[in-house]
């Protein structure tokens, strides 16, 4: 992609709170697709309030375009809030699992490596082991690097999730004050502007 006026292209981390409804993920990703962006990672899970999902989206772009994406995201009817936390003091972690084909001496070395790097051994089979690690993407990259010579036969990474440090921050859940209701024919509510 071409850089915008303020130049530097780097990963931007968007946190987006959305109503947990069918098709909402599509609406969000469609904004990125429209501009031809490749989403580097995307993770979605339930937020604190019921009916709300929290997405973390990593996209490489420049600051101007990131600001535009943010207002476009905020404009979506089902988006409760969107933030760009790239420059916020925050913990950015992802979870990774690596399956290593290793027997004998190599297996011992892999297990020792796991201990030294903070990875956990979560499965031992006759011909392979599975390591799991939760850390910043850079650390996961580093772990993958040292494991590679032993033969990684399978790997999975969740993509980054982020949370700001400290008690209060820009990332305080927006939904806490105003939980969205599932908009059904709310027959129990009275005082409607009109009824049919």
């Amino acid at each position: 992609m071409t850089p915008g006026p303020d130049g530097r292209i780097r990963p931007h981390i968007f946190v987006v709170w959305v109503e947990d409804l069918p098709g909402v993920l599509n609406r969000v990703t469609s904004l990125f697709r429209r501009r031809g962006f490749n989403i580097e990672s995307l993770s979605v899970g339930p937020a604190r309030a019921p009916g709300v999902s929290r997405m973390t989206i990593v996209v490489r772009t420049d600051a101007t375009t990131a600001r535009r994406m943010l207002v476009q995201l905020s404009r979506l009817v089902n988006v409760l809030r969107a933030d760009d936390i790239t420059n916020e003091p925050a913990i950015h972690h992802e979870l990774a699992m690596f399956k290593i084909q290793a027997t004998g001496e190599e297996r011992t070395q892999v297990i020792q490596l796991a201990g030294a790097t903070g990875a956990r051994l979560v499965d031992i089979a006759p011909e392979s082991v599975v390591l799991e690690a939760t850390a910043s993407p850079q650390k996961i990259d580093g772990l993958a690097e040292v494991l590679r010579p032993y033969g990684i036969v399978e790997q999975v990474r969740t993509g980054l999730v982020g949370m700001a440090r400290g008690a209060a921050s820009v990332m305080t859940d927006p939904d806490a004050r105003k939980p969205p209701k599932r908009r059904r024919a709310s027959s129990d509510e009275s005082g409607g502007s009109h009824s049919v």
């Binding site: 959305v18 109503e19 069918p22 098709g23 599509n26 609406r27 469609s30 429209r34 600001r67 535009r68 207002v71 476009q72 905020s74 404009r75 979506l76 009817v77 089902n78 988006v79 409760l80 809030r81 939904d175 105003k178 939980p179 969205p180 209701k181 908009r183 059904r184 024919a185 709310s186 027959s187 509510e189 009275s190 005082g191 409607g192 502007s193 009109h194 009824s195 049919v196």
Partner: protein, 586 residues
Amino acid sequence: MTKRWRRTGAQLIWETLLGEGVHTVFGYPGGAILPAYDAMLDYPIRHILVRHEQGATHMADGYSRASGEVGVAVATSGPGATNMVTGIATAMLDSSPIVCVTGQVGSALIGTDAFQETDVTGVTLPITKHNYLVTEVDEIAPALHEAFYVARSGRPGPVLVDITKDAQQAFTQRRPRLGKVDLPGYRPEPRPPESELQSAAELINRAERPVILAGHGILISGAMGQVRELAERARIPIAMTLLGIGAIPANHSLNMGMMGMHGESWVNQAIQEADLLLALGMRFDDRVTGSLKTYAPNAAKIHIDIDPAEFNKNVRVDVALAGDLSAVLAHLLPVIEARDRSEWLGSIRGFKGDTAVRDIQNLPDMGKLYAAHVIHDIWRMTGGKAIVTTDVGQHQMWEAQYYRHNEPRSLITSGGLGTMGFALPAAVGAKVARPDDEVWVIAGDGGFQITMCELATIAQERLKLNVAIINNGYLGMVRQWQEFFYDRRYAGTPILSPDFAALARSFGLGGEVVKTRQEVEGAVERARADERTVVLDFQVEKEDTVYPMVPTGARLQDMIRRPGQEADGDPESEEEPVAAGRTVEW
């Protein structure tokens, strides 16, 4: 014991629409929407059968732009719904509130490539403000209610509600109660902070050479009076976008005219020399800015718009005020000082120079028929009071230049998307919305052929329109670009047309061919007097060009002007300049 309340989903569709104030829909039936059509007969709904679903969406759009109310289009699944795509995108780009109701195959069949199945919410996702797939009978009323709210609130736009056939057929005993819409993530009307209002007021009061850029948002917000008050008190000249035409009367002494690619040269020059641009409900589209690098280089910019996504999108602004224009101006007006800016207004008059002399209206008439003549005469004979709809292209620009609109919502044109084929169906919608107003379609020979099947709709509904086809045998605007930028290689632009007058007669409508300027007045008169819709085929100069023009990417002041010698005939001719059409405050 009284009988329990019980409705089908199909019945709820119409009851909800009636609750939203809808009495007319534009539509086309089909299998997946059949239950809704069957139920329709039991409700006081006027259904206008279109000939193509694109027409239905443009009619709903024209209805909405003429009335300010939400227009409604109805279609079946699959091809019915996909035919709506162009009309939905048109409404999206021009912020027009329409609601499209489409039938969908039964919910059990979704995703099976069933007969006439298309993922319509998927297809229309990027071209609707919002859309809904409804598979449950109890979701129908709330979804429609919400759709109307979303369509008309904030920055308006099209909303599509796709309803499965089984949901239409199902019965419910739960009476929907449609209260205030609860959309926690939807903030249609932001409010600008007080400090920003202060900065804006200071910039306006301090400016020596301000210009108001008047956009469509003025009409949507209904802020016409406030904008006038602002302009008159602070003596600020006004430039209009294409869709801003009508927001300020053309004959207002501070209204300079249209800006941009085919705007008036003095308007563009005023913008380029301004020290402040006050952008009201407009979005700095590339068609009005020319090259962004050189756009209004010395001007501070204040941008007032209801959609914050428009700020700093194309042009960097100094103060951005997000909110409904009328509400923002209500806060701003009390702190705007009365000023005398006669020096600035005087220098803009100077920018006019000889442009009026070069104007085709002032060129001698040697019997050739120019589009400008036709539109000028229609303007004159309708007293400038007609609602005019246009397609996109040369005729659209000539309309904007030569039909002087004094009333809001009197020009209905496809601006953002530039949709050929918009004018005729949009005029149907406008006429249905405002049956007592005179409606003129001004279309090119190309665009007219895209949706001319709607002549049958007009005949069936016995609607009285007047249609002026500016027929030059080319896809004129594309030909003009080929002339300027592609070495006159006219690839694909010569277009053969049917005998439009005979075609109109075949629908039971009136039709007439006009080839000389002398015939224009009589033909327009006869068309207006005829109780039927009349199609006038104006066979104009084939290779006429819209002047002035800013080439794409050029500086706004670098306009290609009409060459003096291009006019046929003798420049010494004593014929009276046609000044009536161009009031001369500017």
